[in-house]
């Protein structure tokens, strides 16, 4: 019973201190959001919040935060707070503290005290070294809070005293002028101070020691993962918000509003009209659109897949099933991985030098298809190989035991088992090449605006001739547009766009949105296929 009473006392003691540490973590989160807002001009630094200047508010919060962290560490050292610190805060914490104090002191010595580069270096090394030593030499509860908590404290004091105010500018004095302004330095300094303090507070919250370090590190890692997802979300949402108005200009519902379409010889009128994706560009159009680019992208992807898919699968079959592991397979593997990381613009140069002279000496759809096919090929080989290698050997043995030939085994056992992986890989690869601009820039793309009448019609374009090569397709041999190129051309066209489209900015964003939709739908399909097959495998 005595033990139970004691542990109760300890608990009530720590919960008060816990509140301090947890409050510090929460305050860090609030300040993190505030500094992000300030960085992207969500709040203006010069405007007051509830009568107090924003800089003063930030400074005061930083002082409170740094003070809380330091107080917790000192409190733990003198025994007011129950924790289990290690004997030292460790080299990582020491390096972080040393490095940041080096920057702070170096900047202060060289700029504010005007001691020059050497003085700055010396001052930085002296103070940074001191911070490093202070972190390593003391017990963890002091070492990981005082040198690191002092940074937000100092930054906060600088803001409070007005040493760095809203009008502060530091001209770097370079030949090409550039300056650090308060609008940048204040949010960024706050951000760093907050990250440090939040890290130290998270450690303190878990009572230092091994558990404390775990909590501190996990806080930062979770923050990083959340930020990555947030960036993705913001990018997509931003494009959607900006692109939807341009996409929906002139949309009409109801029977008879859409363009005339014929499918399998039956001609009918669509009950919906979206001019942006159903029109080309023409002088008399009410609304301009990007239909030729969409169709161009479609044929480009089809051509690349038709070229790369059989080649890639064939190579993967040979490498996995026929070839003995040796120098030859090694060379092929290195070559495919090398091809995969080759920059896309180099593929463009290659297509320009190799394919363009061989297809009528002008940019053509066919050159674009083959160039993208070259890019897709290594991915098909790599993913198909992975999929075939993951087919268990028992399958092959069982089939061979029935007395069928090797090719029979491959065709009826290995390929069907590997198909889901192959298909998923190819879909993801297609998503990647559908958005590529650089290779088609040099091999395929034509003018900025393609009239609706020039929408490619590959199937209807085949004609037979009496001279070799006996079959020709002028549609394949002329330049056309594709969505990524269209967007690039719209960006570089700049002001000249205004004479063609009523709202150039909306037109650009709408093009970006359509491109994003096309590419991401490939990804959505690929990822969904993977989940579908995986859940199927799990159930069977």
């Amino acid at each position: 019973m005595a033990g139970a009473t004691r542990s109760e006392l300890v608990e009530s003691e720590t919960s008060a201190a816990d509140a301090v540490a947890a409050g510090a973590v929460g305050l860090s989160a609030v300040l993190f959001a505030l500094s992000m807002l300030a960085l992207f001009e969500g709040i203006t630094l010069s405007e007051p919040v509830a009568g107090v200047p924003t800089v003063t508010v930030l400074g005061a919060l930083l002082v409170v935060l740094g003070g809380a962290v330091i107080a917790f560490g000192v409190g733990s050292r003198v025994g007011l707070v129950q924790t289990n610190p290690s004997s030292s805060a460790g080299l990582i914490a020491a390096s972080v503290a040393g490095l940041s104090w080096f920057v702070v002191a170096g900047g202060f010595a060289s700029q504010t005290l005007a001691l020059g580069t050497v003085g700055g270096l010396l001052g930085g090394v002296a103070v940074g070294g001191l911070a490093f030593a202070a972190t390593v030499m003391t017990r963890e509860d002091v070492g990981s809070t005082v040198p690191i908590g002092a940074i937000p404290l100092l930054i906060g004091l600088v803001f409070l005293t007005g040493l760095i105010g809203p009008g502060w500018v530091w001209d770097l004095g370079w030949a090409q002028t550039a300056s650090f302004t308060a609008e940048f330095v204040i949010p960024v300094a706050t951000l760093f101070g907050v990250l440090f303090a939040g890290w130290a507070a998270a450690k303190a919250y878990a009572g230092f020691g091994a558990r404390g370090r775990r909590t501190g590190a996990f806080t930062l890692i979770y923050l990083n993962a959340i930020s990555i997802v947030a960036v993705l979300f913001i990018l997509v949402a931003f494009t959607v918000v900006q692109g939807v108005p341009g996409l929906l200009t002139g949309v009409e519902f109801g029977p008879g509003t859409g363009p005339q379409t014929s499918l399998f010889g039956v001609s009918f009128t669509l009950p919906l009209s979206v001019p942006f994706v159903m029109n080309g560009v023409a002088l008399l159009n009410d609304y301009q659109g990007v239909l030729p680019a969409i169709v161009g992208t479609f044929w480009l992807v089809v051509g690349a897949v038709v070229f790369a898919f059989p080649l890639g699968i064939g190579a993967a079959i040979f490498l996995t099933e026929y070839a003995e592991r040796g120098r030859f397979t090694q060379v092929v593997e290195v070559a495919t991985n090398g091809l995969w990381s080759t920059p896309s613009i180099v593929f463009g140069l290659f297509g320009f030098a190799f394919l363009v002279p061989r297809f009528g000496n002008q940019k053509s759809l066919l050159s674009g298809m083959l160039t993208l096919g070259f890019m897709l090929l290594p991915l098909v080989v790599i993913t198909s190989r992975e999929a075939m290698l993951s087919v268990p050997d028992e399958y092959r043995d069982a089939s061979a035991a029935l007395g069928v030939t090797k090719w029979e085994t491959i065709r009826s056992v290995v390929l069907p088992a590997a198909l889901p992986g192959v298909v998923t890989g190819v879909i993801l690869g297609v998503g990647r090449i559908a958005g590529e601009t650089a290779p088609i820039l040099l091999t395929m793309a034509g003018g900025t605006f393609v009239p609706g009448g020039q929408t490619v019609d590959v199937i209807g374009g085949f004609v037979f001739t009496s001279t070799p090569p006996f079959v020709a397709n002028p549609e394949l041999l002329q330049a056309t547009s594709a969505l990524p190129y269209q967007l690039f051309a719209l960006i570089t066209a700049g002001v000249g766009l205004g004479s063609n489209v009523a709202d150039p900015e909306g037109f650009r964003w709408a093009t970006a949105l359509i491109l994003l939709v096309v590419v991401l739908s490939f990804y959505a399909i690929g990822i969904a296929t993977r989940y579908y097959f995986r859940s199927k495998l799990r159930h069977e």
Binding site: A178, N224, G314, Y322, R325, A335, F352, G435, L515
Partner: protein, 377 residues
């Protein structure tokens, strides 16, 4: 394991003899009709390839013969035809890499010869491209220096790596070791989609949003900074780092981690003292591959940079973005002809060689790591 060492100790000559033996066995085992079909397939395909190289309109004839022979072989001798066709596709992968090397090097030759310079009485072709920093394709003296573009690529790559490496490795650690299953299923596709957003869309957002914002923040004249091109390119290289590093981390045998956890360490201690050191080479290969992606990134750089092939002043001034190797090609291919076009190919050669070396280096590191972990497990 034994067979591998066997093969390593057999020299090149023995290897060749063994291969010849295998070929002879294959010829002995195969019926003459099938052999003839294979011969027709091989010869006609070679003919088509040579015809294509020579820009001959008659290319279609051997290609037609190839299709016919393959069709016949598929119906009558499927076993042998399949073997030959898959071998052909494998060899064609190698051929494509070979063709890329040959064509971009040949196209770059004239400018390499033009930019040769004499050092200590020895004429070194192409050296002047790296000795002075003047790119001028219009007014004499006409010079094609690669120095400003190499500087630009270096600036962007360093900044991009500083963004992508720590964030990518930490995200990989999160995905492979920390995240609960449901969170992982959410974050992983997110990272993949981040890789899927086309680079021109990144460039467009950077061009319309980041560039004006940056020149306002840093009181820079004009738009386009290496700093923010680097940040955007870093974001684009991030998924590469994450997925390769995650593979490396999850290839560390579970037994090693369990052994550490069993002595009572926290999972974070296990990560820092067991998982990360064991996967260190794989993680560094991931960072290397991310660097390769950053070097080769084209469209975002082209749209966001100024397009002036000059060094920044001073050299560390990242607030001005002039030109990178990739954006030089994408911006100038239109009006370039003759020597200037060849200079663009020279830029392409530099890119290609750099990235290929990085890729091979990363593969070597990964291969060593697999062998080490495989040997210990």
């Amino acid at each position: 394991m034994a067979s591998v060492t066997d093969r390593d100790t057999t020299g090149g000559g023995g290897d060749l003899r063994r291969r010849l033996d295998r070929l002879r066995d294959f010829v002995d085992d195969t019926t003459p009709a099938a052999l003839a079909t294979i011969a027709v397939i091989t010869v006609s395909l070679l003919g088509a390839f040579v015809g294509f190289l020579l820009v001959s309109p008659l290319t279609v004839l051997p290609f037609g013969a190839f299709l016919l022979a393959s069709g016949y072989g598929w119906l009558r001798h499927q076993e042998e035809t399949a073997l030959v066709l898959t071998l052909t596709t494998t060899v064609s992968t190698l051929f494509i890499l070979g063709l890329i090397i040959v064509f971009i090097f040949v196209e770059a030759m004239p400018v390499v010869r033009y930019e040769s310079t004499t050092v200590f009485g020895v004429t070194v072709p192409g050296l002047r491209m790296f000795l002075q920093a003047n790119w001028d394709a219009v007014s004499p003296p006409i010079r094609y220096s690669m120095v400003p573009m190499i500087h630009g690529t270096l600036m962007v790559t360093v900044i991009a790596t500083a963004v992508a490496a720590p964030l990518g490795v930490s995200a990989a650690l999160f995905l492979s070791e920390i995240a609960p299953a449901t969170v992982r299923e959410l974050v992983k596709p997110g990272v993949e989609i981040l890789a899927g957003i086309p680079s021109i869309v990144y460039g467009f957002i950077g061009f319309t949003v980041l560039s004006p914002w940056a020149s306002d923040q840093f009181r820079v004249s004009g738009q386009g900074t290496y700093l923010f091109v680097g940040v955007v390119v870093g974001l684009m290289a991030l998924p590469t780092v994450v997925s390769v590093a995650e593979d490396a981390l999850s290839s560390v045998p579970e037994s090693m981690k369990s052994g550490s956890l069993a002595v009572g360490t926290t999972d974070w201690q296990t990560m820092t003292s067991i998982t990360l050191p064991a996967a260190f080479s794989g993680v560094s290969a991931a960072v290397l591959l991310g660097v390769g992606r950053a070097i080769g990134e084209t469209m975002a750089a082209t749209v966001m940079l100024r397009g002036v092939p000059r060094l920044t002043e001073p050299l560390v001034n990242a607030f001005y973005g002039q030109e990178t190797l990739t954006s030089l090609i994408a911006r100038n291919y239109g009006e370039a002809d003759g020597l200037q076009m060849d200079a663009l190919f020279a830029a392409g050669v530099i890119l290609f060689v750099t990235v290929l070396v990085i890729s091979i280096g990363a593969q070597y590191i990964e291969w060593r790591m697999r062998r080490k972990l495989g040997g210990e497990a």
